[in-house]
Amino acid sequence: MSAIATPATIAAAPRRRGWFGRLLQSPSGRIGLVLAALVALAALAAVAHLLPHDPVEQHPLDRLLGPSSRYWLGTDQFGRDIFSRCIEGAKSSLQVALVAVGLAGAVGTVAGIAAGFFGGVLDGIVMRIADVLFAFPAILLALAIVSALGSGWFNTAIAIAIVYVPIFARVARGPVLALRDADFIRAGRVLGFSSPRLLFRHILPNVAAPVIVQVTLSLSWAILTESSLSFLGLGTQPPEASLGLMVSDARALAADYWWTLAAPAVAITLAVVGLNLLGDGLRDALDPTRARD
């Protein structure tokens, strides 16, 4: 509180931790990190084909079996192993989410930084485009774009990316605007630093924190959107495994075979909860004003 730190308060202050230490300190950060790591691990297992069963292989004699030691989460209407399909589905969701958020993050952040730093006409154009994209409910815009591009995982990723570009543009532009006239940037200008040097050395590090948080939160929304589109039949197409499609299939089955719905539902929820918690944890950990908490 007081502006002058007495020797006593300095001695009492805990050791300063890095952002990762602060992330691990908060329960939400810890849980989020574990869940996100689980999802990543599952995706890697699917990529490396380390699954108990082939996710698309049908076992006609083993249809709609409950969870057992052979089929950990039971089987679906074609006798396919639900556990393996959940893992494979998590992989497809994550793949779409990573590509979508990667594209949106790159394009949006660059556009936002450029708009904020150079201002003027460029800022006007970028922000008006963002306004137009913001004038749609997100899922509706994704739906319209996918319907135009056609279904499939890459088109789904493109659609989600277009929806999220303006979010990143705004997130990146805010701090740049605030910093553009900050004293240390002015000092840099006076010292004759070039624009690229000011941008990359002095402004970019300050934009990184909100963008990283936004990436994490956007990944969770992207997984939600991908599975929603797949549920509607517009995202990942059968026979590829997708969590949204599995929920859609379960509509006719869940009343008698609960595991067909429970497994993909829990998988999606865990992934989204994990990324949300990680995003919240990162926001607290990366926020410089809370660094001394």
Partner: protein, 348 residues
């Protein structure tokens, strides 16, 4: 059709505002200027929206002819093809197509569905009330639950109550609507032999009890989706406002805890909460598509989805434009409410 709609509502709002804000007669000048600027901005955004919608649906692989004739389109002679292209108006330049579309939209003609020969305007007239009713119910439920949960969490930050409240909020944020909707439809229907989407949609003035039966579960699912962000906003706003100096002063004056909470803290925390509720309501106008689909409610979102399935691109194009216009309008009203309830703005 959309522009007069917005202008008319803005006109009404000006009237309402004159009564509510400045009983002496005229609106404060700063609010008037803001209103005009915001209105121009909204119309400009809508023009951009219409161009975007038009462009998106022009990227469609194939065209209206393929959509209407399917594989038989290949059997058409070049002359037939040209005649059909002329019939659908797709032989003209993109600019001329765009302006003729916008021209007819502005005169209230949103196009016609090829399959059913119904006009999009009449389809929208019957679908929009369903969506608005659903969105209103969900917003009311979600706001009540979200604000209550947020107040509970904020009453003791980082305590047990807060942890429980935040966990519920996080779960509500993370369980997708389509999962919750599917679970309700399949499990509740099977166990209680109750089918929310069994019959045809009934408007509240046709049969209130049937309407409530049809609306209760979808409104609940969407209400949960609304409650989560409202809860988070309420919690952080209450904690933020509660730590300000004027609250300490109010307590120091000896005001009762309830008066401080409701009048001083909630009065100020209401600003971000109202903004969040407005945003959520806007999202529901087009974002309810999945829940409308699951519960077979003939709302505006389902109209888009059905049109996508039937490859009725004219219907998709105009309906998406209507939804975006409604969304822009709701955001405008939210901004206005925000300005109106913010005591600092009001008393300037």
């Amino acid at each position: 059709m959309t522009e007069p709609l917005i202008e008319a509502s803005a006109q009404q709002l000006v009237d309402v505002d004159v009564d509510a804000v400045a009983p002496t007669g005229r609106l404060p000048a700063f609010l008037r200027h803001w209103l005009v600027a915001r209105l121009i901005w909204s119309i400009a955004t809508l023009v951009g929206v219409s161009i975007l919608v038009f462009v998106i649906l022009r990227v469609v692989p194939g065209n209206q002819i393929d959509a209407a004739f399917g594989t038989e389109a290949g059997a058409l002679t070049p002359a037939q093809h040209a005649a059909l292209a002329h019939y659908y108006g797709i032989d003209r330049s993109l600019w001329s197509q765009y302006f003729s579309w916008i021209g007819s939209v502005l005169t209230g003609n949103l196009g016609i569905a090829l399959n059913t020969h119904l006009s999009v305007a009449s389809m929208t007239r019957s679908a929009l009330p369903v969506t608005i009713e659903l969105a209103l119910l969900a917003t009311i439920l979600g706001t009540l639950a979200g604000v209550a949960l947020g107040l509970l969490s904020a009453s003791r930050p980082n305590g047990v109550r807060d942890t429980v409240g935040q966990s519920i909020g996080l779960l509500a944020l993370s369980v997708p609507s389509f999962v919750l909707g599917t679970a309700i439809v399949t499990i509740v229907a099977a166990k209680f032999n109750y089918f929310p989407n069994g019959g045809e949609y009934r408007a509240p003035w046709q049969s209130l009890s049937e309407n409530v039966q049809q609306m209760v579960f979808p409104a609940l699912v969407l209400g949960i989706a609304v409650a989560a962000p409202v809860m988070r906003t309420t919690r952080s706003a209450m904690i933020e406002v509660g730590s300000r100096d004027f609250v300490r002063t109010a307590r120091g004056k000896g005001l009762s805890a309830a008066r401080v909470l409701f009048r001083h803290v909630l009065g100020n925390a209401a600003i971000p909460i109202v903004t969040m509720v407005g945003i959520q309501f806007g999202y529901l106008l087009g974002g309810a598509v999945i829940v409308e689909q699951i519960f077979a409610l003939p709302g505006i979102g389902r109209q888009v989805l059905q049109a996508i399935e039937d490859r009725e691109y004219a219907v998709v194009q105009s309906t998406v434009l209507v939804i975006a216009a409604a969304f822009v309008l709701v955001n405008f009203l939210t901004d206005l409410t925000y300005r109106w309830i913010d005591p600092r703005v009001r008393e300037q």
